[in-house]
Subunit: 222 residues, 2 copies
């Protein structure tokens, strides 16, 4: 299968970095084709705006979605965006590796979505959700949290982790048609010792060996 | 009162721009002190990392939260971060004006949070939620959506808007101690004509005239 790994963490030596490397190594060893977007190493610019486009249809009044539709027709996306779109369109399964910062994606990854998921090219008209452009493909979030697992239960300190992730699962991934796999969550790696981390990385590798066989999960209705 | 308005949209002529300007004008006319962070005009860098700090405690292994605590003790935040922190600490009431992109904050605003809301300075230890640094202050989200209101009801196409906003309300604002006011939401301004927009801007202005008297709302438990 064709696998796209998107990685958003400023330190490769972090536990997130180790999870990303585990995914690269395991999926490659299993015979998959692997592409990566290591956003910090790429120095990806996450600010969405006029520079998303080679030329503007209306330089005097910037309407991003109109420019996106225009760029879709005229092959007018900036090179850094076009390259990411091609990876997205190429993959069968996409994994995002990131730390949950403020109950959400890190800014660099959120801005990757803002810029790359363009109207016309990745969604639009009735090509949404079950009719989405990426129907039949799968995506999974692989993340770490700061807090311990008990803080993320229903009615807990922070609230249900699935409610926290739902805007990403529903509002980004399913919105453009991806089937969503159960997220892979490591709670509070900052409080784990090296042995515990090794065990968790091995468990992640084991899951990834058979990720191609996994079925989507129900992200819930709210 | 001291009001901080944070604005995240690439086009000042947009409806978001008009809402931001309405807030600046209305709150100033009502006698409040008004500070702004117009993130696109400031070309704010939303990528959180080593450059958040003047010097690093450990340049060989970047751990953001440890560096944040170190910078808190040594006045070591980069100038662009320190300036935003000072505004945050100054205000009695903060309003964020933004378009809801992908069920979430635009990348530039998410990255502003990632960088400015630093451990040690804005939260940490048991200074969270009801014991947060910003206890007694208030915050409000003012946003626009792409879809119509009926898409954002419970069990609707996109799901309950309050569930979508909850990671922001709970995971960012309440997390550091802010009391959260009912969000101000304009659904699908792209489909409104000029007269409808004028009415909605006037309604927003009316609300803002008395915003200092508003009480917090219940962001819900999940």
């Amino acid at each position: 299968m064709k696998m796209l790994l998107v990685f958003a963490h400023p330190e490769h030596q972090s536990f997130n970095g180790a999870m990303f490397q585990t995914a690269v190594d395991t999926l490659t060893a299993a015979g998959h084709e692997v592409a990566t977007s290591d956003l910090y190493s790429m120095q990806f610019d996450p600010v969405s705006g006029r520079h998303n486009f080679l030329t503007l249809k209306n330089p005097d009044y910037f309407k991003q979605q109109l420019e996106e539709m225009h760029a879709t027709e005229t092959f007018g996306f900036a090179e850094d965006i076009e390259r990411e779109m091609k990876k997205l369109e190429w993959c069968d399964l996409m994994i995002w590796q990131f730390p949950l910062w403020w109950f959400a994606l890190p800014g660099i990854l959120k801005g990757w979505v803002d810029r790359v998921f363009a109207m016309g090219r990745t969604y639009g008209g009735d090509r949404l959700y079950a009719n989405g452009v990426f129907t039949g493909r799968r995506a999974m979030l692989s993340l770490t949290t700061g807090g311990p697992q008990q803080a993320y239960g229903k009615g807990g300190f922070n609230g249900d982790i699935h409610a926290i992730l739902r805007p990403i699962h529903r509002g980004i991934l399913q919105f453009v048609g991806f089937d969503v796999l159960q997220p892979h969550i490591v709670y509070g790696p900052v409080r784990l010792d090296q042995e515990q981390r090794t065990v968790l990385l091995a468990a992640y590798g084991s899951r990834l060996k058979h990720i191609g066989d996994e079925r989507p999960f129900d992200v819930g209705i709210y």
